[in-house]
């Protein structure tokens, strides 16, 4: 659910890494030469879950949490994650923005005539949400620990009555109905897509187009630049680039073209061929461009 790059391997789903993170926080601040920060948010289900965990770390009743401290901790977390170029899912950043706003509200005295919610109200809102989420978690735990049918208690193993109440001669639930409908419509729509919608440039199509254009290529020209008239449809972009690039490789081999790329993912340049040694190996480029496409 959460995209996090892990600097070091840490147990997935364990809460422990977070504890460590905050225990380490001071020492990290003291020295810039600290080893790579261990951050794992795989175990968290979104920003609220993370906040709840941070609140728990204050080791007080949820009703007594310091909202401001919580905001600080969260913002420090996000800040740190960015410093190590960790990719955070958008909802973590949205929460960070909201919390930064909340922090400013809490620190700056409130204008009395303001229509906006006060910092206190916003803090209440946050605390309420945390408390409610925690309550639901506790409830879930209590629920699964009840005596459950098929685990702790059992029904008659050899029932004599198949169905007690004859409401209808046929048996189907709303879920059956909706599931069937969705599945069928989806199947039909998918088969239509693959047949009719996808346009693919074949290698020979691309070659014909390239050959037609080749007279214009006296100077180094970016592949994308002269394909631009074909790239108006974004869905066609990938196939156009892939097929025409494959075609250029063939034409390079035949000596009709020269091809150049400064570095990986940089634009690919083409010009009319003057057969010579040492041109860029097509295979390498093919590898890189594949990733690019």
């Amino acid at each position: 659910m959460v995209n996090a790059l892990k600097k070091q391997s840490v147990p997935v789903g364990a809460k422990a890494p977070m504890d460590r993170l905050w225990e380490d926080a001071d020492s990290v601040d003291r020295g810039l030469s600290e080893p790579a920060l261990v951050i794992d948010i795989d175990g968290f289900e979104g920003p609220l879950d993370l906040l709840l965990h941070l609140a728990r770390n204050q080791k007080v009743d949820l009703a007594r949490i310091s909202v401001l401290a919580l905001v600080e901790q969260y913002l420090v977390f996000v800040d740190r994650a960015r410093r190590v170029r960790l990719e955070l899912a958008a909802d973590y950043l949205v929460m960070a923005a909201w919390l930064a706003f909340l922090k400013s509200k809490l620190l700056i005295p409130q204008k009395a005539d303001s229509d906006e919610p006060s910092g206190e109200e916003m803090a209440e809102q946050l605390a309420f949400r945390l408390k409610r989420l925690e309550a639901m978690r506790d409830a879930a735990t209590r629920l699964v620990n009840r005596n459950r049918l098929g685990r702790d208690v059992f029904a008659r193993g050899n029932p004599e009555l198949v169905v007690v109440e004859k409401k209808s001669k046929f048996d189907a639930t709303l879920y059956d109905l909706l599931n069937t409908y969705s599945g069928m419509r989806q199947r039909q729509s998918v088969s239509q897509v693959t047949i009719s919608r996808r346009r693919v440039w074949s290698l020979s199509d691309a070659r014909v187009i390239l050959q037609r254009l080749i007279g214009e290529l006296h100077e180094w020209t970016a592949l994308e630049h002269f394909l631009i008239r074909y790239l108006s449809d974004p869905e066609e972009r990938a196939t156009a680039i892939a097929s025409s690039f494959a075609a250029t490789l063939e034409m390079v081999r035949e000596g009709h073209l020269e091809i150049r790329q400064e570095l990986a993912f940089a634009p690919i340049y083409l010009r009319r061929g003057k057969p010579q040694e040492g041109s860029v190996s097509g295979d390498n480029i093919a590898q890189e461009v594949k990733q690019n496409v």
């Binding site: 059992f154 193993g157 004859k166 209808s168 709303l174 109905l177 419509r185």
Partner: protein
């Protein structure tokens, strides 16, 4: 609760109610009650008759299993279910005089075939819909039998006839349909976003994909004619059962 308590103070058949050994006797009674509970639960939960050996395995060693079962079957003797010995094993059975309560064949509820579910769901969402339109959506021919089953179920009905060449019959759902599936009205059928949200539809369906909104009421649409008596006869509404497709 009172009976349960009384059961504990019934003296054993083969033991004298010696007041000197009252403590020992009470412990024995408790043990017997527990053994009965265990035997009772095992036979109840089992899909097949249970052997005495299997029950004995779960009882404290030295328990007189024969007596436990004898007491239990005696206990159930006058009740609505009896504990019977079936080929050396034990099973619960409805008391013979109450067998009128059990009507196996009457309770035979059929599951709708996948084809029927598909046709039913299309009818629900796309009504008023003709058979040709149903076939177009499903991508396969619909056998006469599938529609018959659904008409028989009382969940779909002929609504009218489309004002197009051939005047095809249009189908729609019934009140029983709403009733059975717990819908207040047709528009309670979830739309595309809801189906996606529930994980029933993929989030990556084509952009031109639509889930129609069923009509708010049963009124005929502008391009529908009512079905007349003549139509009914012409349609030969007493169609014999056909085979189901799929």
């Amino acid at each position: 609760m009172s009976e349960g308590t009384q059961a504990q103070i019934v003296p054993f058949d083969d033991e004298s109610g010696d007041s000197d050994a009252a403590d020992r006797s009470e412990a024995a009674i408790r043990a017997m009650h527990e053994a009965e509970r265990i035997a009772e639960a095992m036979v109840f939960a089992s899909a097949e008759p249970v052997s005495e050996r299997l029950i004995a395995e779960k009882l404290p060693e030295g328990t007189n299993i024969r007596m436990v079962m004898k007491r239990l079957s005696g206990f159930y003797g006058l009740r609505g279910v009896n504990l019977l010995r079936v080929g050396g094993n034990w099973a619960f059975r409805t008391a013979a005089d109450l067998s009128f309560l059990i009507h196996r064949d009457q309770m035979d509820v059929r599951k709708l075939s996948r084809a029927a579910l598909e046709v039913l769901s299309i009818t629900a969402y796309h009504q008023p819909v003709t058979r040709a339109e149903i076939e177009e959506i499903r991508g396969v021919a619909t056998s006469r039998g599938t529609l018959d089953v659904l008409l028989e179920s009382g969940w779909i009905r002929m609504r009218g006839r489309r004002r197009t060449p051939g005047r095809p019959v249009t189908y729609g759902t019934t009140l029983e349909f709403l009733d059975h599936f717990g819908l207040e009205e047709l528009r309670d059928l979830p739309g595309m976003d809801e189906l996606k949200g529930a994980g029933l539809l993929s989030a990556r369906i084509p952009s031109n994909f639509r889930v129609p909104v069923p009509p708010a009421d049963d009124e005929l649409t502008d391009d529908e004619d009512p079905i007349t008596q003549m139509d009914l006869e012409e349609l030969g509404l007493l169609t014999p059962m056909g085979e189901e497709d799929d």
